[in-house]
């Protein structure tokens, strides 16, 4: 373990705690910058998808992991972002303003749901967001003149200042820049009073309110930001998949996003990246699995949802802190060796009392 002796107040707000972190994150950044020049274009594409999942996951993590509001309809915000961007871009709005507008539109709709969500917790919110997702899906398939309905919507090639953003490498760097910006934004947001307020709301609404946190403002803001990030991810996603269908944004995508934050680790920024890596790799793993399983099982429909559901179950029951939680445990096992105690990470049980009157 490394102890940092802080000698200046400014050290408290440093992004990196010590030089070791600076080195490793610098190395990661360098690797990511150099990656497209060495990797095959398939892997560059996969990395781009990973970045998109990270952006969407950052949005959902703010909401579920840090504010404690469960959304089961985040696919809707991704759909809104994707369609808003594609439609605006086709109408002749330049690329970046269109991207920004997509995030804003998505954020605005998120704010509306957020206002409705103010008096809701848990199940109310989950059902409200899932309903919202169904409505959006219906609107997209019914609003044919704009969205193309079930026939699909061809996303135009992004060309800006004579640079073709559609090419793998350029789009990769675009996503890399955006993902870095989003992550920095999220990290800084969580260190700011707003982020602290969100965590306070998650842990106890009543205590937060007693401490002077404005519940209405905090929840609405969390929802707006979350929707905006997810919308931005959707806008980038639209270029990656090239053709938009309402079927791209069903409940299965919402569950995938939910799985991202749960598997990654609720309430950790690292968890976003771990979760995104997990769901990027998962389809490949399932494809490999199909080769090994007996044919009667492998050829069945529904293997994917089965794997999704089982993983969600497994993590919630045995590792509720997700992959990041597991990593922290492994790390502290080695840093504290041989004094590591299992009970350090034992979860506190809380016994419920109802809010109902009868």
């Amino acid at each position: 373990m490394r102890f940092v002796l802080k000698t200046k107040y400014t050290q408290d707000i440093n992004l990196f705690l010590h030089n070791g972190q600076r080195f490793w994150y610098g190395l990661l950044m360098a690797a990511l910058i150099l990656a497209p020049f060495f990797l095959e274009s398939f892997y560059v594409g996969e990395l781009t998808y990973l970045f998109i999942w990270v952006i969407a996951g950052a949005g959902l993590m703010l909401l579920i992991g840090y504010t404690g509001l469960v959304s089961m309809g985040h696919a809707a915000f991704m759909a809104i972002g994707a369609y808003a961007h594609a439609v605006l871009f086709k109408l002749g709005v330049p690329f970046f303003p269109s991207l920004l507008m997509a995030a804003l539109i998505s954020g605005f709709l998120g704010a509306i749901i957020g206002v409705a969500a103010l008096r809701m917790t848990g199940i109310y919110l989950a059902v409200a967001t899932i309903s919202f997702a169904f409505i959006i899906e219906k609107v997209i398939s019914a609003w044919r003149p704009v969205t193309g309905g079930h026939r699909g919507f061809i996303v135009p090639e992004p060309v800006m200042f004579g640079v073709d953003f559609g090419s793998d490498i350029v789009f990769y760097f675009l996503c890399l820049v955006i993902v870095t910006a989003v992550m920095l934004l999220v990290i800084n947001l969580l260190r700011s009073p707003i982020g602290r307020a969100m965590v306070a709301v998650r842990d106890s609404e009543i205590s937060a309110q007693a401490m002077g946190v404005n519940l209405v403002q905090t929840k609405t803001l969390a929802f707006t930001l979350s929707a905006a990030f997810t919308g931005l991810a959707g806008a980038l996603y639209s270029h990656k998949i090239g053709m938009l269908f309402p079927e791209n944004f069903t409940i299965l995508l919402s569950i995938k996003l939910l799985m991202l934050v749960v598997v990654g680790g609720l309430g950790s920024v690292h968890g976003i990246v771990f979760g995104a890596m997990f769901i990027s790799i998962l389809p490949q793993v399932i494809a490999i699995l199909r080769d090994f399983l007996p044919t009667w099982l492998a050829q069945r429909r529904g293997l994917e949802p089965l794997v999704f559901g089982s993983i969600l179950l497994f993590f919630l029951m045995y590792e509720p802190l997700g992959l990041y939680g597991r990593w922290v445990k492994i790390r502290s096992y080695f840093t504290q060796f041989p004094l590591y105690r299992k009970a350090t990470f034992k979860r506190q049980k809380s016994y419920l009392r109802t809010e109902r009157v009868h």
């Binding site: 219906k138 559901g309 109802t354 109902r356």
Partner: protein, 296 residues
């Protein structure tokens, strides 16, 4: 909008009420769990779907007649609830509520996928002794299936109300839900209460399944949509209230039928979700409010 004839009106109304009762019945299942354990079971619709498949298998594959099918399905589903509670839910007692919520979402996916693997994705029919010609009253023709749904739902609700209000075990369930720790102190076996509540709830799901099976074709996705609508019903009615779940269910059932009729079917389902969002804006506590601000 065309003029609706009286016959169509009554028919839509009855169809709406019977569908609504069904939503209400599924909602009863998880409202019961919610009342007793404060957990939210998002997989209730999928549990109902399993009930429908078990009934189908007993009737068409094993050749039982209707009454044994009913009894066996309810019994097997109660057993299913017991297994579910022991393996998945019990380790989650004392965890934050949203963890249980997500757990049951995952459980729903697993149940649906497994059902698809066992029974296939094609649609199956389930007949009952009362699947006979509809009852014709003047312009109105009413299916017996729908009438049975309404009748059974009312009986079951009444029974549940009396059970929770007047029996020792019902009161113990309420106590366990109000404060688990305090209930344990006064000698209520909280764990057993939770287990039995789950059995009861899956048994209710079985009843819902037996009622829904003759009305619709059975396929693995049947539970998901019904489950979501049941949630809408419970929220519209006020979560945690048995009567509210039923009233909410009937409300959305009727709205769905009439909107579906007016806009040629396409928007019937969507109207339910719009209704929910409107409700949450206007009266988030539901028609029959049971929530109040938590005191510290």
């Amino acid at each position: 909008m065309d003029f609706i004839s009286l016959g169509t009106f009554v028919q839509l109304l009855v169809t709406g009420i019977s569908h609504g009762c069904l939503y209400g019945l599924v909602a009863l299942g998880f409202v019961l769990i919610y009342k007793a354990t404060e957990m939210v079971n998002f997989a209730q619709g999928d549990i109902m779907m399993w009930g429908a498949f078990i009934a189908y298998m007993l009737a068409s594959k094993l050749g039982f007649s209707y009454l044994p099918v009913v009894v066996l399905t309810i019994f097997l589903m109660a057993l299913f609830g017991l297994v579910l509670e022991r393996t998945i839910i019990r380790p989650m007692i004392g965890e934050p509520p949203f963890a249980v919520l997500m757990l049951t979402i995952g459980l729903g996916f697993v149940l649906r996928a497994v059902a698809g693997m066992i029974w296939g994705h094609d649609e199956k029919e389930f007949d009952t002794p009362y699947s006979i010609d509809p009852l014709v009253l003047g312009q109105v023709s009413l299916d017996y299936e729908q009438l049975v749904v309404v009748g059974c739902t009312i009986l079951l609700c009444l029974g549940l109300y009396l059970f929770l209000r007047f029996t020792r075990f019902g009161v113990a369930m309420q106590a366990a839900s109000q404060n688990q720790l305090a209930a344990a102190y006064v000698g209520i076996p909280v764990r057993r209460v939770v287990t039995i509540t789950w059995c009861l709830s899956t048994a209710i799901a079985a009843v819902a399944a037996l009622l829904v099976a003759p009305l619709q074709l059975i396929y693995p996705g049947i539970g998901f949509v019904v489950g979501i609508k049941a949630f809408v019903a419970a929220i519209v009615g006020g979560f945690g209230s048995l009567a509210g779940a039923l009233i909410g269910g009937i409300c959305i059932g009727i709205v769905e039928q009439f909107v579906g009729y007016t806009f040629e079917g396409a928007y019937g389902e969507t109207s339910v979700y719009v209704l929910l969002l409107l409700m949450l804006f206007i009266r988030p506590q539901g028609l029959i409010a049971t929530l109040q601000r938590k005191k510290v």
